[in-house]
C-alpha cells in the first residue's frame, strides 16, 4: 500500500526549498481530490483561501457508518498525516492547525501527540502548532462547518453557505478543512512515484475478510466485493449510511467511481461499502439506517427532524405488516422532500438510502403492504 510508505519527512524537506505557490501548483497538477467524498480538487481549495489569520483543520471525525480508512491511516502511519499537515500549512501560510478527532478514536490521541512531539523540529521550521480536538460523538461534526462550531465550543450545527469557510471559517478567519486521507496523500506527491488512482476502500458487512483495501479507481463492483470474500451471495451494497444503496446483481459489472455511482442515484461518498447478504430484508435495513439518522439529526430544520421520524414510523408500520400502499407513497414523497428542502448536507443525504431502496426494491416493500 502506498499510503503506508514511511517518508521520514523527505517530502517536507523538499517543499522547504519551494515557494508556496509552487507547492500549490504541484498539488494542483497532481490531481489530488478530496477523499471525504466531496471530490473537490485539493490544490484549488488551498488556492481559494481568503486573507487573514488562516487555520487548517484536519477532519478526522470519521463518523460515516462502515468507514474506517482514516483510523487505519492514523493507526498505521500517523507521521505521514502530520507531514501532510505540515506541507499544507506551509503552502497556505498556516501557523495553527487542528486535528478534529472523532470522540470514539480517543485512544489514538496519545499516539498522534507522540508523533507531533517527535516531529517538533520540523514543525518549528515553519512555526506550526498542531492541536488535537476531540469530538463529542455527533455524526454531524464530520460536516465541515459543524466542525468549526464544535471547535469554537458551540452546539454543532452546520452554517449557512455562503460565506464559505475558505473566507469566513473558524473564529471568522479563513479556514481550510481537509480529510485525513487527503492530507496523508500530500507528502507522497512530492516523493514521486505517487499513483493518483489508488484509493482506500473500507469493506464491511457480510464478509469473511472485512477491512481497508487499496483499490484503483474504476475497478468494477464484483472485483471489489470479492476481495472481502462474501459469506453469502450479496444482495445489496450500501455506500455508508448517507450514500444510498445499489442492488449487487444488477450492477455487478459497474466500474466504481463517483460519476457512475451517482448516475444510478446513489453516492460513493468516503468509499465505504457495506455488503449485505441475500437473507437481509431491505425494509429492516432501511429502518436501521433511518434510526441512525433519527439519532444523529441535530434538530435544526423541520424536514430532517420531523421527516425522518415520520419515515421511521411508516417503516415500522410497513415492517409489522400494517402498512398500506398509500403509506409507501407518502414515505417516498417524504424521502424526496427531505432531500430537497433540508438545511445541511446531513439532512439532504439522510434519505438517499430510502430513495434507492424504493427505486430498486419496490416489490419487496409492496409485498409487506396490505
Amino acid at each position: 500500500m502506498q499510503i503506508l510508505r514511511k517518508s521520514e519527512w523527505e517530502g517536507f524537506k523538499k517543499i522547504l526549498r519551494m515557494s508556496r505557490k509552487e507547492v500549490i501548483k504541484k498539488v494542483k497538477e497532481s490531481g489530488l481530490k478530496g477523499k471525504s467524498g466531496s471530490n473537490f480538487p485539493t490544490g484549488l481549495k488551498w488556492e481559494l483561501m481568503g486573507k487573514g489569520t488562516r487555520y487548517l483543520i484536519c477532519n478526522a471525525d470519521e463518523g460515516e457508518p462502515g468507514t474506517f480508512k482514516d483510523r487505519f491511516i492514523m493507526e498505521k502511519n500517523p507521521s505521514l498525516l502530520i507531514e501532510g499537515i505540515a506541507i499544507a500549512s506551509y503552502a497556505m501560510d498556516v501557523h495553527k492547525a487542528f486535528i478534529y478527532l472523532r470522540g470514539e478514536y480517543s485512544y489514538i490521541k496519545p499516539k498522534l501527540e507522540r508523533v507531533i512531539k517527535q516531529s517538533e523540529k520540523y514543525l518549528k521550521k515553519i512555526n506550526l502548532k498542531i492541536n488535537i480536538n476531540l469530538g463529542a460523538g455527533s455524526y454531524l461534526c464530520g460536516e465541515e462547518t459543524a466542525i468549526l462550531e464544535s471547535i469554537e465550543g458551540k452546539r454543532p450545527v452546520a452554517r449557512q453557505k455562503p460565506p464559505y469557510p475558505s473566507d469566513v471559517g473558524l473564529y471568522g478567519e479563513p479556514t481550510c478543512i481537509n480529510n485525513v486521507e487527503t492530507l496523508a496523500n500530500v507528502p507522497l506527491i512530492f516523493l514521486g512515484e505517487w499513483n493518483n488512482k489508488l484509493e482506500l476502500y473500507s469493506l464491511s458487512g457480510d464478509l469473511e475478510n472485512p477491512g481497508v483495501y487499496e483499490i484503483e479507481i474504476g475497478t468494477n463492483l464484483k472485483q471489489i466485493v470479492s476481495l472481502g470474500k462474501p459469506r453469502t451471495k450479496p444482495k445489496v451494497i450500501y455506500f455508508g449510511a448517507s450514500g444510498g444503496c445499489l442492488p449487487y446483481k444488477k450492477f455487478e459489472n459497474l466500474s466504481v467511481n463517483c460519476k457512475t455511482i451517482s448516475e444510478q442515484g446513489a453516492m460513493l461518498g468516503p468509499r465505504s461499502l457495506i455488503v449485505c447478504g441475500k437473507d437481509r430484508s431491505i425494509v429492516e435495513l432501511s429502518k436501521i439506517i433511518t434510526e441512525f439518522f433519527l439519532h444523529e439529526s441535530c434538530g435544526y430544520c423541520t424536514p430532517c427532524r420531523e421527516g425522518n421520524f415520520r419515515i421511521w414510523e411508516l417503516l415500522k408500520k410497513i415492517e409489522e405488516g400494517n402498512g398500506k400502499k398509500s403509506d409507501l407513497k407518502l414515505m417516498e414523497k417524504l424521502a424526496y422532500h427531505i432531500g430537497d428542502t433540508s438545511y445541511c448536507a446531513l439532512g439532504s443525504s439522510s434519505t438517499t438510502h430510502l430513495k434507492c431502496a424504493i427505486k430498486y426494491f419496490k416489490e419487496e416493500f409492496l409485498r409487506l403492504c396490505r
Binding site: R155, Q160, C298, G299, T302, P303, G307, R310, H337, D340
Partner: protein
C-alpha cells in the same frame, strides 16, 4: 443588480435576501420562524423558493446577479405545505389567532397525516413551556442569546428529542432567567407563555359575581397597556384605548378601576427624593431605577455589587398594592384580605415580583393577581365583550388620578424624564417651565445626556434591553453617571413580555409615541402636582422618605445564590 422573480425583472441591492426583495415588490412568500428583529436562521423551511431547480430558503439566501427565482411553482407549494404539516404534526391544538394557524389556512392544510407524540412539561416559574405546541422555530433561543444576552435557553438533545430548554434542564425558577418574557413575546405558537398566576384566584377574577358578597375587587392598569391592548382586537398599533379599557374592566365586574400611573407618580416622588438626597450627600451614585423586576432579578443574580446603587423604592405595582391594602382598605372599611388587588401588566416578571414574601404590607400579598395584557385580552374575549364598540369611561378616584409623568413610565426614558421633572423642582425650588426633556427620548439601546439643574450637571443614562444593560455594566461606563434607568425589555414596558403578539421594533415605536401623546394631553404633567398624591401624603404617609413611606414603599435587595448546584 437585476434579478427575475417569477419571470418578472426586479431590481435588487447586493447583500439583500430574496425575501427582502420579494417583500419590497409585494410578492408574497409565507414565513414562520422569520422575525424582522432577529437573524434569519432558516429553521422552519416554510419560506422556500426555487432557484436553479433547487429549493432554498428565501429568508437567509442572498440574491445574486441574474438570479431566477420562482415563488409559486407546484414543487415549492407542495414542499412548503409538507413542511408545515410536519411541524404541526406535533401541535396539540391551534388557536385561531396564532401565527401558525393563519399560515396553515393560507397554505391550505386541512388534515394532518401524522400522530402526536410529546408530553407536556410544566414548571413552577412564571414562564411555562408547552412542548405540545413548540415547533422549534428558535426565535426564543435567539432572543435570549442575541437580544437579551442572558443565554439561559438553548436547544438541548438532538433530532426528534430536541427542545428549547435551560442548561441541564434546570427548572426556570432556579436558573438565571429574569422572567423578562421576551421569549414568550416572540413565540409564534404560545408554546412559551405566562403561567396563570394563581389558578384559583384567576378563576375568581373570571367569575367575580360568585364571591362578590365577601370580596371587593379593584384593578390597576399599567401605563403601557393602554397603548397596546387595542391590538388584540384588531386596532392599529399605537391606538390609545384608555377609556375603552376602563369600561371593559367595569363590564368584567371590577368594583373599582384604578390606574398604576398613580403608583408611578408615587414611585417617582419617592425616587426623586432619594435621588436628591443621594446627590446632596454624594453617596451611592449613580442611582439606578428599580421599577423593573427583571432588572432587579438580573442584578441580584449577576451583579450583586450594584445592589447598593439601586433605588430602594418598590415598583409602581407594589406601591399601589401597598397603598391599596393599607390606606384604601381602611378608608372603605374592607379587611385587607378581602380586598382583591388585580393588576394588569405588560410584563411576566411582575408575577414573580408580586409573589415575593417581602411584598406583604398588611399580612397578605399586596397584589393578589397579576394578569398580562394578553391574559386580559383573553378574558375580555371570553366574556364576549365587543371591545371596539365600548364607550369611553374614566378611572375611579382617588387612586385613578395621575399625572403625565406617570403615563410615560411605560416607555424607555419615561422614568428618567418624570424623575427629572420632580427633581428639578426639588433642587431648585422653582416651578418647571419646560417639562419636555426631548434629549433623552429615543430608541437607541443606550442613551445619555447631561442636564443642567441649578449649577449642577446631572448626567443621566437610559438603558433598555438586558443585552444593553450587560454591555453598560461590564464596560464600566455606569460609574460616570448620576442617574441610570434600566429596563429589561427592548423599548421599556411597551415591549414587555406580556404584550400582544406580534411585537416588532416598529410596533414598539408606535406604542411609545402613543404614550408621549397621552402625556402631552394631560393637564398635570409633574408627578408632585398630582392632588391625589398630595392628599395621601397629608392624610397618611407624612413625607417622602418618612417613616411610614419607608416601611410601605421601600424594600431591600439581597444577593441570590445559585440554588440548584
Amino acid at each position: 443588480m437585476q434579478i427575475k422573480i417569477n419571470g418578472k425583472g426586479v431590481k435588487a441591492k447586493e447583500g439583500e435576501t430574496i425575501l427582502e426583495v420579494a417583500r419590497r415588490n409585494k410578492i408574497y412568500i409565507p414565513t414562520l420562524c422569520y422575525h424582522p428583529d432577529l437573524k434569519p436562521e432558516g429553521r422552519c423551511r416554510v419560506c422556500l423558493v426555487e432557484v436553479n431547480k433547487k429549493l432554498v430558503t428565501s429568508c437567509n439566501t442572498k440574491v445574486e446577479d441574474k438570479m431566477e427565482i420562482f415563488t409559486n411553482t407546484k414543487r415549492v407549494l407542495e414542499a412548503r405545505r409538507l413542511n408545515l404539516e410536519l411541524l404541526l404534526s406535533n401541535v396539540s391544538y391551534i388557536r385561531k389567532d396564532f401565527e401558525v394557524a393563519k399560515l396553515a389556512k393560507e397554505l391550505g392544510i386541512r388534515k394532518i397525516r401524522f400522530k402526536k407524540y410529546v408530553d407536556i412539561s410544566k414548571g413552577r416559574a412564571p414562564i411555562e413551556k408547552d412542548n405540545h405546541k413548540c415547533i422549534l422555530c428558535g426565535r426564543c433561543v435567539q432572543v435570549c442569546q442575541n437580544i437579551q444576552k442572558i443565554n439561559n435557553i438553548d436547544f438541548v438533545n438532538r433530532g426528534i428529542f430536541t427542545e428549547a430548554n435551560t442548561p441541564f434542564n434546570i427548572p426556570l425558577k432556579y436558573s438565571p432567567c429574569t422572567f423578562c418574557g421576551q421569549c414568550a413575546l416572540y413565540c409564534p405558537e404560545n408554546a412559551l407563555r405566562e403561567r396563570a398566576f394563581n389558578e384559583k384566584l384567576v378563576k375568581y377574577v373570571e367569575n367575580m359575581d360568585l364571591v362578590r358578597d365577601s370580596k371587593f375587587f379593584i384593578v390597576q392598569t399599567a401605563p403601557s397597556i393602554r397603548a397596546s391592548l387595542g391590538e388584540i382586537f384588531g386596532m392599529e398599533p399605537g391606538t390609545l384605548v384608555t377609556g375603552k379599557m376602563v369600561s371593559a374592566l367595569r363590564k368584567i365586574g371590577f368594583d373599582k378601576v384604578f390606574d398604576t400611573d398613580f403608583g408611578a407618580d408615587l414611585t417617582i416622588i419617592e425616587e426623586a427624593n432619594e435621588f436628591v438626597e443621594r446627590i446632596k450627600k454624594n453617596k451611592n451614585l449613580p442611582l439606578i431605577t428599580s421599577c423593573c423586576p427583571s432588572w432587579i432579578k438580573f442584578a441580584e443574580d449577576t451583579y450583586p455589587f450594584l445592589l447598593k446603587n439601586i433605588s430602594t423604592c418598590k415598583s409602581p405595582q407594589q406601591m399601589f398594592g401597598a397603598i391599596a391594602k393599607t390606606y384604601y382598605a381602611k378608608k372603605i372599611g374592607v379587611k385587607p384580605e378581602n380586598l382583591i388587588v388585580v393588576s394588569v401588566m405588560p410584563c411576566i416578571s411582575k408575577k414573580f415580583e408580586a409573589e415575593k414574601l417581602e411584598m406583604r404590607s398588611a399580612g397578605c400579598p399586596d397584589v393578589d393577581v397579576v394578569l398580562t395584557t394578553r391574559e386580559l385580552g383573553r378574558i375580555i374575549e371570553k366574556k364576549k365583550i365587543k371591545f371596539a364598540k365600548l364607550k369611553d369611561d374614566e378611572f375611579d378616584l382617588p387612586l385613578g388620578l395621575s399625572s403625565g409623568g406617570g403615563a410615560i413610565f411605560g416607555a424607555t426614558g419615561g422614568v428618567t424624564e418624570s424623575a427629572l421633572r420632580v427633581a428639578y423642582e426639588l433642587l431648585t425650588g422653582e416651578k418647571l417651565k419646560k417639562v419636555d426633556f426631548k434629549q433623552i427620548r429615543g430608541f437607541e439601546g443606550i442613551r445619555d445626556a447631561t442636564i443642567k439643574i441649578k449649577n449642577r450637571n446631572i448626567r443621566v443614562a437610559i438603558v433598555h434591553g438586558l443585552g444593553n444593560i450587560r454591555e453598560m455594566i461590564e464596560s464600566g461606563k455606569w460609574k460616570k453617571y448620576h442617574f441610570i434607568e434600566m429596563m429589561a425589555c427592548p423599548g421599556g414596558c411597551i415591549g414587555g413580555g406580556g404584550q400582544p403578539r406580534p411585537t416588532t421594533k416598529e410596533i414598539r415605536k408606535k406604542r411609545m409615541e402613543a404614550l408621549y401623546r397621552q402625556d402631552k394631553n394631560k393637564e398635570i404633567r409633574v408627578a408632585s402636582h398630582n392632588p391625589a398624591i398630595k392628599k395621601i401624603y397629608k392624610e397618611f404617609l407624612g413625607k417622602p422618605l418618612g417613616e411610614k413611606s419607608k416601611k410601605l414603599l421601600h424594600t431591600k435587595y439581597k444577593k441570590r445564590k445559585p440554588k440548584y448546584f
